[in-house]
Symmetry: C2
Subunit: 225 residues, 2 copies
């Protein structure tokens, strides 16, 4: 079997596991975010801000994906939030089977929101459906305005794009409007939020939008029961 | 054939092509850099500064790897330097066969330095030898001090680590010494340079070191003829 056929089979098997995960999440009425970005764009910082903003209203948990270390999981647990660590070794992305194995020891029953923090990589994670409800991509402003054009698959498939570290825009010489225009060119349908997890700027709009998304899901789930 | 066997075969075939590339480069006395980093860490900016600093003394050329766009190649050609674009589509790294195919239409005879700018990815490119003499990894300070620990394979295999965008260290709240300590913990042998391609700070030391590496290679090649 050649490399392309193996890759096709891998993605097919992944899709089956992702469909099963999605069925489980939808039965629970749990909104599941697949959170993706390049290394160091601020996934864990966004997670911390999101937990702090929503934990009084919703039941939350986190699955962390990293090559090595459980530094991110430690950060989440320090907030008193449940977190499960997946260490991938040399594998550059999470896949749906890793998630279904994690769910066997980390039950998500009764959760309103599960955030899966993917491995820091702006390429490979885009190809693996995990069964999520929302694909959220963070782009660090300091990476430069042309990134959406250079990594189009990731941005094209996003439901939400967060432009983070806006506090560094001026010092980085990056034009925030140019970056946003480039996101919209690759993906006109995505919600776009410009935020700084450091200063807090823009986080209210993101939290309000996500809170509404969780609430309407909960309402829909309640109506079904 | 299962996925692991296919991957083993892929890496074996890559190694054969890399060995052939290396033989060709060494016969020419050309120093070849495999330049790797996460997206937006400053590979092309470092390339521009390196070309400007060394082009009066050495014959240089560039091979650019990107998923999409030839924006980086355009930037290099604007300096009057030869550049060849490899567009990988969805492939998340360069491999040695892509380089040997590029060499068929982009001859490197007589070059002192060839820089191969890899796809922006801190994981997968680390596994593919291209036949380079030096593995140079750029870590953007704004990515955070813990990155070497979280992406250890890339840092462990580097000959040189450049800590770029030091001008953003304070605004990012990143301790440069902690970042350097983390690099040295993963790789005690790597040369480490703290630089800012924007302000120029630290570039002299990098250019002096690289100039010496090229000169000693050229002397060795001359002695052989």
């Amino acid at each position: 079997m050649d490399r392309v056929s193996v890759q096709t089979n891998v993605l097919k098997a992944n899709q089956e596991a992702a469909t099963e995960n999605r069925r489980l999440f939808e039965a629970e009425g749990t909104v599941v975010i697949n959170l993706m970005s390049a290394p160091g764009a601020g996934k864990t910082s966004l997670l911390v801000a999101t937990i702090q903003g929503l934990r009084d209203r919703y039941r939350l948990a986190v699955i962390e994906g990293d090559l090595q270390t459980d530094l991110d999981s430690q950060r989440i647990r320090a907030l008193g939030t449940r977190s499960h660590q997946i260490t991938t070794g040399t594998v550059c992305h999470l896949d749906a089977r890793m998630i279904s194995r994690a769910l066997a020891e980390f039950p998500v029953q009764g959760l309103d929101l599960l955030v899966i923090e993917n491995v820091g990589n702006l390429i490979c994670p885009a190809s693996y459906d995990l069964g999520e409800s929302l694909r959220v991509v963070i782009c660090c402003v300091a990476e430069g305005a042309e990134k959406p054009k250079k990594y189009p698959v990731m941005f094209h498939r996003a439901d939400v794009v967060l432009l983070n570290k806006t506090d560094l825009a001026e010092a980085s010489g990056v034009d925030l409007r140019e970056l946003e225009t480039n996101v919209r060119e690759v993906n006109p349908k995505a919600m776009v939020f410009a935020v700084s997890c450091k200063t807090g700027v823009g986080l209210d709009a993101w939290l309000a939008w996500l809170g509404d998304a969780i609430a309407s899901r909960s309402i829909a789930a309640a109506a079904r029961t």
